[in-house]
Amino acid sequence: MRRSAAHPRPHTDGRHGCRAAWAWLAGLAVVAMLGAGLGTARPAQPTRVVVSNDRDIINVDPIAISAPADYSVASLVYSGLVRIRPGTTTIEPDLAQQWEVSSDGLVYTFHLRHGVKWQGGLGEVTAADVVAHFQRAASRTSGSIFFADLAEVKRIDAPDPYTVRFTLDRPSLSFLTAIVAYRPGLIVPKKILDTNPDSLKTTPVGSGPYVFASWQQGAEVVLKANPDYYGGMPAVSQIDVRVVKDDQTALLALRRGEIDARYLQIPEVQRQAIAAQDVRILRAPMPRTYYISFNTTRAPFNDVRVRQALWYGLNRLGILDSLFKGLGTFSDTMVPPTVTGSLPGVIYNYNPDQAKQLLKSAGAEAGFPGKTFSLMALGLQDQTDVASVAQENWKALGMTFNVDIVDTPVFLQRARAGNFDALVFASLRTEPEQFLVDSFYSKSIGSNNFSRYDQADAPLDSMRYATDPAERIRYAQIAQRQLQRDAPTIPVLNSTLMLAYAPRLSGVKLQLLIFNSWQWSVSR
């Protein structure tokens, strides 16, 4: 199966921690940024910052990271060849000072900085490290879960100790994004790969701004500033990452000064944060989107009119106002409104009459009395709330749904096997266009294409292999329009990512944070 290996995979919401940690990262990036010595004439910065994840780290080996909490720590300890400048979508140099692409788009050559040191006295970062790392990441047998991302790489070699050359099978606009300092792009020392690779699971050793100092399991990770960091010693000398499972407790702790920053997802707690005088807020425009997907292979959800009816019959404004306290937006497409190329406009305004008309034309004028359908959701409050409201709304159309709460492993299993009628899920999309492929491409059925939709392969293929960004956007829009018409999935709501932080961290300027910006930058 040919996968577009290029993009960092979008993050489908899964377990407890998945959601939260991803986004506080953004805040951490900002914190780290200002800590990183962006300027000398700064007001006194706290030298020790306590941030909070809602889950402990489990495995921080870059080739196996699948959870935000793990990434949040790894991203501070490691560097990549290139990274994304926070607050932008621009790719900028990291370990690689500059790079060239051959005219046929098949060969990428990176020139490494000289004198970048590994932590722990392991010597200098050289091309040998980079080659060994990416070979491991691309291998199917090393335990890497990202080998598909690097499937297009034919060969990696190091013509000299500071040059790394990648040769691809076919030109790809997204190769650079694939190796950006995001999960598999985080580079580990060859010396450790040779002697004790298993230690990387719990003891990261990198070349980044922070050193992994200690880990009290279940409670806290302590990161200390790396004095040898090539970008200069970060001004925040210690970051404590504490585990606090629920948002409410975390906010209370924040208000009491026990932690300094936390990403909040529960709308009710977000509202409290807004109302609290002793807490500052940072809102990210990159939303977390809630979806309802239908199983398009099961009757009556195989009838597009039924799906459209349910879309019209869902009071999304009501959900936004009551459940999310107005903190968010809704749109009619899978690509969030803040991303270039997102289809504007809302067609499916809440209209129960229209919904009933559609049902009637599908031969179900009174709905489906006597039948009960399953609406599967994870046992996370925000998602079960959305499911509950949907259930209520659709009851009025004569369709009775049973909210089926399951936990993550069961959810994913049933979703991928098509063992549901409808489901609610939430995701933070790092790369929206890749998300379209992941969720609606026919080859993703059995993986992340829960709705089993397969009618958009043509525009999606053209989009993936487009050689120019404008063309890419054009095809993306074609695909979006089709998805809007065919309604395999309803985009319910784009909720606000919110970072709450303590006033003592002020000086954090409000920035447009997008999802790729947790790779923090250092001024040069």
Binding site: D246, D247, V269, D321, G379, T384, D385, S388, V389, V403
Partner: protein
């Protein structure tokens, strides 16, 4: 202080049942427990009539309301009426508690009867199994079984039922060991009754009393475990009006709308209190010494 002074031609004692009932009613604690428990049972039985609203009906315009005329106990996060949810929740808690205890008692009694009556290797095997299960704290056994069955109400009933089985088994066995040496049992066997008949007709009725006491004492524990499991996310799923789940739901608005958590929390405490007092009272009532007739 026997109040039924017997004349020579009167039967020597009132029936044990009447004695028990009287002893029970004398204790203030037990009386209170009786009233509270039956009150809750009544509320649960009459839930459809008592609840002014559908417990899962959302009123999204009225979220997190404090007690008002429209909603006597206020509303929760999704605008659901708390009075209705509490009343329906009583049903759930009672069914879970009683169901679990019933499951445990029946299983335990069967095991205990077999072990105590037949002795020998049956006793040995059952004894080992029961000991293993007894080693496990109630909560952990329940979590363990829930993990297998998946979070659900029936899962909780089975989990807690399984977890309390060994206690009943051990008690029953002890009682059976005592009873089987008594004359009426030996007589029944001599006459030729089959073992099963002896157990069912002769022994069982006489070991019922302590079982009932243990059952009433265990209901409280069962309800607490159900609440705990729901709180941890391992119990019946939303929007079920399970009291434990309601407390968890209300955690998010703890500082702004504490009654959402407090109400069901108090309800749980009340039910457990009632059943515990009742159980204590029953135990004291059955105890010949305390009842004053030994």
């Amino acid at each position: 202080m026997r109040s039924d002074a017997a004349g020579p031609n009167r039967r020597a004692a009132s029936s044990p049942l009447r004695l028990t009932a009287r002893a029970l009613l004398r204790s203030r604690g037990a009386l209170f427990g009786l009233v509270v428990t039956f009150g809750i049972v009544l509320a649960a039985l009459l839930a459809p009539a008592l609840a002014p609203y559908d417990p899962v009906q959302q009123h999204l315009l009225d979220q997190n309301q404090p007690p008002t005329l429209a909603h006597w106990l206020g509303t929760d996060r999704l605008g659901r009426d708390l009075l209705s949810r509490t009343v329906w929740g009583a049903r759930l808690s009672l069914v879970t508690g009683l169901g679990a205890v019933l499951v445990g008692a029946v299983q335990g009694a069967l095991l205990g009867l077999a072990a105590g009556y037949y002795r020998g290797w049956v006793d040995g095997v059952i004894g080992r199994v029961v000991d293993t299960m007894l080693a496990f704290p109630l909560y952990l056994s329940a979590i363990f079984v829930i993990a297998t069955l998946g979070p659900s109400q029936i899962g909780v009933v089975l989990a807690v039922g399984l977890a309390v089985t060994p206690v009943f088994a051990r008690l029953t066995r002890g009682q059976v060991l005592e009873e089987r040496e008594k004359e009426y049992v030996l007589a029944a066997r001599v006459v030729g009754n089959s073992n099963r008949r002896v157990i069912a007709v002769h022994i069982l009725p006489n070991v019922l009393a302590p079982l009932v006491v243990l059952a009433s004492l265990t209901v409280g524990d069962a309800i607490l475990v159900e609440a705990g499991l729901s709180f941890l996310g391992l119990g019946p799923p939303p929007p079920t009006p399970s009291w434990g789940l309601m407390v968890n739901d209300g955690m998010v608005v703890l500082t702004t709308a504490p009654w959402v958590s407090l109400g069901p929390g108090l309800a749980i405490a009340l039910l457990v209190l009632g059943s515990n007092l009742l159980g204590d009272g029953l135990r004291d009532a059955f105890d010949p010494r305390l009842r004053g007739d030994a």
